[in-house]
C-alpha cells in the first residue's frame, strides 16, 4: 500500500498546477457534474423517481423544472440522467430527445430535429404528413418493440420551455402533452425554464393536459452554506495524482474562506446573488491568477476579482471621454437639475456650456458649433444620451430632444477619477446651478 503511494507521490509543480487548472476549469467553465447533488437532494430524488417510472414501468409523465438563471436546473437534470442510466434496463430501452427553445424556433424545425434524434430519417423517408399530430404518431409507432406490445419509452427534454410557448398554436407542446396523457406511448416530457409564470403562457387546452407537476429550484442558502459551496467548488478530489499537493491546496482554500477580508468580499457577492453562475465567474477570475510562481489562491486575488465584478461600467466609459465631451455632460447634468429631468437638445446644452465659458477668461474651450456637434454625436453613439421617441426624421439634428442616461452619482464619481481634470471644470460641476 505504501509502495503504491510513494510511486505517485510527487509531480513537478508545473505539472500539478496544470492539472489543477484543467480540473477546476472543467468544473467552473464546462459545468462538470458533481458526484453528489449539492443542496438539491429532495428535488433530485423526486425527479429520479419520476423518470424511473417512465423508463422502467412505462408510465407517461410531464414535469417542469423552474428556477432562476444559474440555479442549477440543467445540472440537476444531467445528474438525474446519469443516475438513471446506471440501471441496465433503463439504459437498454430509454430514448432521449433534447430540444432547445433557442435553437428550435419553429415547430417544423423541432419535428425534423425529433426525427433526427430518434434516428428515424430513413423510416420517414419522403412521406408527407397532413398534420403535426400525424407525424408524431407515426414516429412513435415506429418505435414500437418487436412484439407490438408497447413502444420504447422516450424522454423529451425541452430546454427554454417558455420559448416553445411562443410558437404558433403551441402545436408541439399540445401534441407532446396529449401523447403523455393518452395511452399511445410511454413518454416523459421534462421542461426547463427560468420563468416562474410559465403556466400563464400556456393555452387552456395545453395547460389542461399538463400534469401541473413543478420542481422548484429556489435556492434558500444561508451564508454558511454559501461558504461551504465556495470551498467545495475549489477543492480538489481524492483521486488527484499528487496527494500532498492536493492536501496543501485544500488547506489553503480552507484558510482563504476563513480570512476576514475574503469573507467580506464573499458576503458582498452573497448579498447580490446566490446563484452558481456569478460564483463561477468570481472563482474563474481568481483561478486565472494561479501560476507556478504563486501556486495558491490568496485573499488579495479574491478581493481583486470582486472589484472587477462590481465595477461600474458607465463610470469606466466616462473616464475615457475627452474634456469637451465631459463638459457637455456636466452641462446636461445642470440642465437636468434646473429643469427637473426634462429632455434637452444640443442648442440648449451648447448655450449652457457658453454660459460657463463666459465666466472664465481663458478661451481654451471656445470651439465651433460643428466640433461640439461631433462630440455630441459621439456621446449618442456611446448610448450615454438617447433620443426621446419621436419623429426623428422631421427635426433638425441640433433640435432633437435627448435624455441623459447617467445619474448624478455616476458623473460625480467619474469626475473624481478623471485624469488631469482642469479645476475650473470640476468646480463648475460641483456648483449648484450652472
Amino acid at each position: 500500500m505504501s509502495k503504491r503511494k510513494a510511486k505517485y507521490a510527487h509531480l513537478p509543480i508545473g505539472e500539478s498546477i496544470t492539472q489543477v487548472q484543467s480540473m477546476l476549469r472543467e468544473r467552473l467553465c464546462n459545468q462538470r457534474l458533481p458526484d453528489k447533488p449539492e443542496g438539491t437532494e429532495a428535488q433530485h430524488k423526486h425527479l429520479l423517481e419520476l423518470l424511473r417510472r417512465t423508463a422502467i414501468h412505462g408510465e407517461s409523465n410531464s414535469v417542469l423544472i423552474v428556477g432562476p438563471r444559474g440555479a442549477g436546473k440543467t445540472m440537476l437534470l444531467k445528474c438525474v440522467l446519469r443516475d438513471l442510466l446506471e440501471d441496465k434496463e433503463a439504459q437498454k430501452s430509454l430514448l432521449q430527445v433534447h430540444l432547445n427553445g433557442l435553437l428550435q424556433t419553429d415547430d417544423r424545425i423541432a419535428l425534423k430535429e425529433i426525427t433526427r434524434q430518434l434516428h428515424l430519417e430513413n423510416v420517414v423517408g419522403d412521406k408527407v404528413f397532413g398534420s403535426f399530430a400525424e407525424n408524431l404518431a407515426f414516429l412513435l409507432e415506429a418505435l414500437k418493440k418487436g412484439d407490438r406490445s408497447s413502444s420504447r419509452p422516450v424522454l423529451f427534454i425541452l430546454d427554454e420551455f417558455d420559448l416553445f410557448a411562443h410558437h404558433k398554436n403551441q402545436t408541439l407542446l399540445y401534441n407532446l402533452l396529449d401523447v403523455s396523457q393518452s395511452a399511445q406511448a410511454p413518454i416523459a416530457v421534462v421542461g426547463i425554464t427560468c420563468r416562474l409564470d410559465v403556466l400563464e403562457l400556456l393555452e387552456k387546452r395545453v395547460k389542461s393536459r399538463f400534469s401541473h407537476r413543478q420542481i422548484h429550484l429556489l435556492s434558500s442558502l444561508t451564508f454558511t452554506q454559501y461558504l461551504q459551496r465556495v470551498q467545495s467548488q475549489l477543492s480538489l478530489p481524492q483521486d488527484f495524482p499528487d496527494v500532498k499537493f492536493a492536501q496543501d491546496w485544500n488547506d489553503s482554500i480552507k484558510t482563504l474562506c476563513e480570512d476576514k477580508s475574503a469573507e467580506e468580499a464573499l458576503r458582498r457577492h452573497f448579498n447580490s446573488s446566490k446563484d452558481f453562475r456569478s460564483l463561477h465567474i468570481l472563482l474563474m477570475l481568481c483561478l486565472s491568477r494561479v501560476t507556478v510562481a504563486k501556486p495558491v489562491i490568496k485573499p488579495a486575488d479574491l478581493l481583486e476579482a470582486s472589484r472587477l465584478c462590481f465595477v461600474d461600467a458607465k463610470a469606466n466609459m466616462l473616464h475615457g471621454l475627452s474634456i469637451l465631451e465631459l463638459c457637455l455632460i456636466i452641462a446636461m447634468k445642470h440642465l437636468n437639475d434646473v429643469y427637473e429631468g426634462e429632455p434637452f437638445n444640443l442648442q440648449m446644452v451648447h448655450n449652457e456650456f457658453k454660459k460657463f465659458l463666459q465666466r472664465k477668461s481663458n478661451s481654451m474651450y471656445n470651439f465651433e458649433q460643428p466640433v461640439i456637434m461631433k462630440a455630441f454625436e459621439h456621446l449618442q453613439q456611446l448610448e450615454l444620451i438617447r433620443p426621446v421617441d419621436g419623429s426623428a426624421a422631421k427635426t433638425q439634428k441640433e433640435y432633437q430632444l435627448m435624455r441623459l442616461m447617467l445619474d448624478h452619482s455616476q458623473i460625480m464619481e467619474a469626475l473624481q477619477k478623471y485624469p488631469l481634470c482642469p479645476t475650473d471644470v470640476k468646480q463648475w460641476a460641483m456648483s449648484a446651478f450652472g
Binding site: 472543467e26 491568477r289 469606466n316 470651439f367
Partner: protein, 471 residues
C-alpha cells in the same frame, strides 16, 4: 518597464512578439492570456470586452490569436447582416469550405449547431476554439434568439469553444428580457496622454530624429487632446500634417531644435485642420493639395457645408426669410412686426427669467401656409401677385430640405411647414437681398435699448439698412 508575458503552454518567442505589437496594453493582454489558459484547457464560455473605440480591443485579440496560432474565427457584425453569412463565415474559418457548404440555403441556428456537431465528431477540438465578434452591439438588432444562443454556444455544441464579444456599449444594454448566460465582463481602459504619445511616436519618419517627431506629436496632442482621444483620428491627423510641420525645416529657415518657431508655424494650421479635416468637411486629398499650394493662392477651402448654400431666385429667398420669421416668432407678435400702426407688445419679463423658452433654443415651430403668405407679402418690397409660381417655389424649397412639411400628405387645404435652416444661413441670405432679419426676430428684440442692435451689427449678422419698413 514592459513586463514580459509568460504562460506555460505557449512559446516564449511568440509571446515576446505579442508584447511588441501591443504597446501600453500589457495588463489587458496578460489578463486575457490568463483567462484563456493553456490551449487544451477549457475557458469561460463567453467573454464580453468593452471599451472606447480605438482602445485596442480588436487589435489585441487579433495579435494574440494570430501569433499564438490558435484556431479562431473573427467576425464583424457589420458585415454579417444575415444569419447565413454569419454561420457560413464561422464554419469556414473553423472547419474549412466543405463544412460551410453543408449548410442549407437559409440556415437556422439549429442547422448551424447540427453541422458543427457533425464536424466535431470528425475533428474534435484539441485546442480551445475562439469566435471573436466585433461591433457586437449590432447583435441586439438581429434575431432575438441569436445573442443568448451565442453566449452559451459551448454548451449547445458540446465542444471546447469560447465566444468573445467586443463592443463599445456596456453590457447592461445588452441583457435580454428573460436573462441569458452572463458572460465574463472585461474592460479595456482608454489610453492615457502618455500612452498616446508613446504609440504615436512609434511611426517616426526615417529622415528625422525620433525626438523631433515626438515633439511634433506633443504639439498635436496639445491642440487636439481636449477634443478627441480617438487613436485612429489622431493617427490620421498626425500623418496628414507632418509635411507641413517639416516645411520650414526643409526650406532651411529653422533648425530641428527651434521648437518655438516650429510651433508658431504649425499651430494655426492645426486649428484650421480642426475645422475642416477633423469634421470631414474636406477630404484628406484636398487637404494635402491645399498644403502644397502657396498661402496666398489657398483662399477659401470649400468644405462640404459650403455646398448647401444654393443660389435661390429672388422670391424664393423672401419666402425662406418669411418662413424663418414664421417659425421663430410667436404668432401673436406678427402684428407688431408687420403692421404699420401697431401697439406696443410687452416684451415680457417672462423671457428674461425663463430663458429656455427662447425659440432659438427650442427649435422651429410649425406654421400654416396662410401665415407664411401673410408674412411674405408684408416682407417683400414689390407688389407680387399670388400665382402658381409662388406656390411651386414653396414646394421646391421643401424638396431642397430648406423647409420641412409637417402635416400629412393628404391634407391639401391647410399644409403646415417648418423652417429647417440655421440663423447663419438665413443671415447670409438676407444680406444678399439687403434685408435686416434680426430686427424682425422676437428673440433679439429689446425695445428698451438700442444696445442689442449694436451688438448684432458688430457680430456681422446684419448690415445697416437705410430704410426700415415697419417703423
Amino acid at each position: 518597464m514592459t513586463s514580459v508575458l509568460q504562460h506555460p503552454g505557449y512559446d516564449e518567442e511568440k509571446l515576446r512578439r505579442v508584447t511588441e505589437q501591443t504597446p501600453c496594453r500589457e495588463a489587458q493582454t496578460g489578463l486575457l492570456l490568463s483567462l484563456m489558459g493553456q490551449p487544451q484547457q477549457y475557458s469561460y464560455p463567453s467573454i464580453f470586452v468593452y471599451g472606447h473605440r480605438a482602445s485596442g480591443k480588436s487589435h489585441v485579440m487579433q495579435v494574440l490569436l494570430k501569433e499564438l496560432e490558435l484556431p479562431h474565427a473573427t467576425i464583424s457584425c457589420v458585415e454579417c447582416v444575415s444569419n447565413a453569412l454569419l454561420f457560413e463565415k464561422m464554419l469556414l474559418s473553423l472547419f474549412g469550405c466543405e463544412a460551410a457548404s453543408l449548410l442549407p440555403r437559409t440556415p437556422s441556428l439549429s442547422d448551424f449547431v447540427r453541422v458543427y456537431r457533425h464536424q466535431c465528431v470528425d475533428s474534435p477540438a484539441t485546442q480551445t476554439r475562439y469566435i471573436v465578434m466585433e461591433k457586437a452591439e449590432l447583435l441586439r438588432d438581429a434575431d432575438v434568439n441569436l445573442l443568448p444562443a451565442l453566449l452559451r454556444l459551448q454548451e449547445l455544441v458540446d465542444d471546447n469553444l469560447t465566444v468573445i464579444l467586443l463592443s463599445e456599449i456596456t453590457w447592461d444594454k445588452f441583457r435580454p428580457n428573460t436573462g441569458c448566460y452572463e458572460p465574463l465582463v472585461l474592460h479595456f481602459p482608454d489610453y492615457s496622454k502618455g500612452d498616446l504619445q508613446q504609440i504615436l511616436s512609434r511611426d517616426s519618419h526615417p529622415s528625422y530624429s525620433a525626438d523631433f517627431y515626438s515633439s511634433y506629436i506633443n504639439i498635436l496632442l496639445g491642440v487636439f487632446y481636449s477634443v478627441c482621444r480617438d487613436l485612429r483620428e489622431l493617427h490620421h491627423l498626425a500623418a496628414l500634417n507632418f509635411s507641413k510641420f517639416c516645411e520650414p525645416l526643409a526650406e532651411g529657415k529653422v533648425k530641428e531644435s527651434d521648437t518655438h518657431k516650429l510651433w508658431r508655424n504649425i499651430e494655426p494650421h492645426l486649428k484650421k485642420a480642426m475645422q475642416t479635416v477633423y469634421l470631414r468637411e474636406v477630404s484628406s486629398l484636398q487637404w494635402e493639395q491645399m498644403q502644397q499650394m502657396e498661402e496666398k493662392e489657398a483662399g477659401a477651402l470649400k468644405g462640404l457645408s459650403a455646398h448647401t448654400h444654393v443660389e435661390l431666385p429672388y422670391y424664393s429667398k423672401f419666402l425662406l426669410i418669411a418662413a424663418y420669421l414664421a417659425s421663430y416668432n410667436p404668432a401673436r407678435t406678427d402684428k407688431r412686426f408687420f403692421l404699420k400702426h401697431h401697439g406696443k407688445i410687452k416684451k415680457t419679463n417672462f423671457l428674461k427669467k425663463n430663458e429656455k423658452t427662447s425659440n432659438h433654443l427650442l427649435g422651429p415651430k410649425p406654421f400654416p401656409l396662410d401665415r407664411l403668405l401673410a408674412v411674405f407679402y408684408s416682407v417683400v418690397d414689390s407688389r407680387v401677385a399670388p400665382s402658381a409660381s409662388i406656390f411651386s417655389q414653396i414646394s421646391s424649397l421643401v424638396t431642397l430640405q430648406l423647409l420641412t412639411q409637417v402635416s400629412h400628405d393628404d391634407q391639401l387645404d391647410a399644409p403646415k411647414y417648418k423652417c429647417a435652416v440655421s440663423l447663419d444661413f438665413i443671415s447670409a441670405i438676407s444680406r444678399t437681398v439687403n434685408f435686416d432679419i434680426v430686427k424682425y426676430l422676437y428673440d433679439f428684440l429689446d425695445p428698451d435699448t438700442a444696445a442689442s442692435q449694436e451688438e448684432w451689427v458688430n457680430r456681422g449678422y446684419v448690415s445697416r439698412v437705410r430704410d426700415h419698413p415697419s417703423r
